[in-house]
């Protein structure tokens, strides 16, 4: 009971902070905060897959690319309402994720990780082949751009909706099935859980989250979708976010999203070695340092603090 009240209070605090934030910070910082929201959705999606069913994906940038291109192309060709394109991206990525989950049923561990890595490398190359529809290397531009405030509000509203959705999915029967699959596939099957159904479902949900994140990512990028924006680095950033987050904690996901969303701009402002590449040095060193200090991510840190508080 006390745990539930604490969780509700912390949720309310996060929501309140997010509501007043636009009035307090500059337009540039608002765009950074919106960026954190985008990564929040993507990391949350990956956490559902990796944290709850134990399947590793290094390919969520591919699903983000599909979602992002969905938004850009629909907006370019039909001037579709951008929020509607996000729903479409959600649906398309759910189906694609489900389909990717099918071959994933036969793979596990490092093999699955590398196949999803392959997906992340391959998908951004497809626009180069079908360049008349997908814009080739020059990319696709949405019909209009959005303000930072619009982006902030929509990104965090979507985050909130998707967070509640994840909570609804994971608290009940499906969530229990996911966790059973993660802990022991054999035991899960023995208890009557249909493994293929739940593993592919997890892939679908996770990919759908990444798709929405991809839509917002394109909008955050001035409505511009191009292959280079969805390079493998993006997938790695999401993976880093999930690792910094740790497993199954709202605060963890928030910390992970803030880490990957803010670190590039923070590290570029650190004048360590006076070169354009100081950013990479700081970013890489920060990632290594965080992992050395918190191998179980932020969630592991919270669990340790909680144990200490109880003792």
């Amino acid at each position: 009971m006390r745990g539930r009240i604490a969780a509700l209070v912390s949720l309310a605090v996060v929501a309140a902070v997010l509501c007043v934030l636009p009035f307090l910070i500059s337009d540039y910082n608002l765009s950074l905060a919106a960026r954190v929201g985008v990564f929040f959705i993507a990391v949350l999606g990956l956490d559902i897959l990796t944290g709850y069913t134990g399947q590793i994906s290094i390919g969520h940038g591919a699903f983000m690319a599909i979602g992002g291109y969905t938004t850009a192309v629909m907006s370019r060709d039909h001037h579709t309402n951008l929020v509607v394109t996000m729903l479409v991206a959600f649906a398309i990525c759910f189906v694609v994720g489900f389909l990717v989950g099918l071959p994933a049923l036969r793979l596990s561990g490092a093999y699955l990780a590398l196949v999803t890595f392959a997906l992340a490398v391959s998908v951004p190359l497809l626009p180069l082949k079908w360049s008349s529809f997908l814009g080739g290397r020059d990319g696709v531009q949405t019909s209009h751009e959005v303000s930072n405030l619009w982006l902030y509000v929509v990104a965090w509203a979507a985050s909130a909706i998707l967070f509640v959705l994840a909570w609804l999915i994971l608290r009940g029967r499906v969530g229990r099935a996911f966790r059973a699959v993660r802990d022991s596939e054999i035991a899960a099957v023995a208890s009557g859980i249909e493994l293929p159904v739940y593993k592919t479902l997890a892939f679908g949900i996770s990919a759908a989250y990444a798709g929405v994140a991809g839509s917002l990512f394109v909008l955050a990028n001035n409505g511009f979708a191009a292959p280079d924006e969805f390079a493998i680095v993006l997938s790695l950033q999401i993976l880093i976010g999930a690792a910094v987050a740790g497993l199954g904690s709202l605060w963890g996901v928030l910390a992970g999203a803030a880490f990957v969303g803010l670190l590039p701009s923070v590290s570029s402002s650190v004048p360590v070695i006076g070169s354009a590449h100081g950013q990479d040095v700081v970013f890489g060193a920060a990632v290594i340092l965080v992992m050395l200090v918190l191998p179980d991510g932020f969630a592991g840190l919270l669990a340790r603090i909680r144990r200490l508080a109880r003792a």
Binding site: A110, K129, A243, H277, F283, M291
Partner: protein
């Protein structure tokens, strides 16, 4: 004595699936030979593919050594190879000859890989598997940044190790470069095989990777062996980088990024825990990419990588642990 016992273990591990795979491979090799005899272009593409494939294969071998030793996929393997190639470049700038720099670089890479394992991977390895992988991702970015910082992002050129001579064999022109690349890689792979097969150090490393607890009981210093495994992988990566550089004509910080992708593909194709599989996988990918882009119009160079991966995923669906990989048996 040592070899007899270990070959029995190898025999048990490989099981019955190998004959089928070998037959398929022999069929492919025969096809390549027949094609090469009939068409000079085909032959040239095959030779070039074998040389490039050897480079993919040796980097894949490095990935496999790391994976076998520590169950970590090392994302920084390619960048490490790139950085060591820059070290060789610097040594040549300071007046060493190419092959002196080559030897010195391999030694530096060995030390560098070992030190990285001891300082950055070891502390997180037993805490969380994903954390170790993320550390290698961080290392990827860090090495990239450091190289750009020290040497800048512009093209550098190194002296060619094999000259520019071109041999003509029955209408087929073969650059000496490709033969040199292939030979150096095969020699490196053979030396590694000899090390693992016939030396006490190699036996210790295999024991530490396959049966850490039992190895520790009979006095193998498991931790030390795993670190040397990383060092050896870095050394092989340096060979890959130094052999990749002449084929790309220039040295730049992104030298190894596409090659790493193919090396991943090769390692998965061959089986992540099979060193021989990594090399064969690399050769297969090098040759088939070269041929497919030339002869299948629908797959232009843009679709080269997606095609490679589609094939590999297809293979994995038939054999989920790669062509030569060891199937994991799980107990309830």
């Amino acid at each position: 004595m040592v070899t007899a016992a270990t070959s029995r273990i190898e025999g048990l591990r490989n099981g019955a699936a190998v004959p089928v795979v070998s037959l398929v491979l022999i069929a492919c090799a025969t096809g390549l030979l027949v094609g090469s005899l009939r068409s000079a272009t085909f032959a040239q593409l095959t030779v070039q593919g074998l040389a490039l494939g050897a480079v993919y294969g040796i980097l894949a071998l490095a990935l496999v050594l790391v994976y076998r030793a520590t169950r970590v996929i090392n994302f920084a393997q390619g960048e490490l190879a790139m950085a060591t190639t820059y070290i060789a470049y610097q040594l040549i700038q300071w007046g060493l000859s190419y092959w002196e720099a080559f030897a010195a670089t391999l030694a530096i890479a060995l030390v560098l890989g070992t030190v990285l394992e001891l300082t950055l991977i070891r502390p997180v390895l037993h805490r969380s598997a994903i954390a170790a992988v993320i550390v290698t991702v961080g290392l990827f970015v860090l090495i990239d940044g450091i190289v750009n910082w020290i040497w800048g992002g512009d093209f550098k050129s190194m002296p060619s190790p094999f000259g520019t001579k071109i041999y003509h064999v029955g209408g087929v022109s073969i650059s000496r470069l490709y033969i040199g690349m292939f030979v150096v890689v095969i020699i490196a792979a053979l030396l590694v095989w000899v090390l693992f097969r016939f030396t006490k150090l190699g036996l210790g490393m295999r024991a530490a990777a396959l049966r850490p607890a039992e190895a520790a009981l009979v006095g193998v210093r498991v931790d030390w062996m795993l670190a040397v495994g990383w060092g050896l992988a870095a050394l092989l990566g340096a060979v890959a980088g130094l052999m990749a550089e002449p084929s790309q004509f220039f040295l730049e910080p992104t030298l190894m990024q596409p090659i790493l992708v193919y090396a991943f593909a090769a390692a998965v194709l061959g089986g992540l825990d099979s060193p021989a599989g990594a090399l064969i996988g690399g050769l297969a990918i090098g040759v088939s990419l070269n041929l497919v882009v030339q002869y299948v119009p629908a797959i232009s160079s843009e679709l080269q990588e997606p095609f490679a991966f589609a094939v590999i995923i297809g293979v994995l669906l038939l054999k989920p642990s790669g062509l030569f990989g060891h199937r994991e048996v799980r107990r309830v």
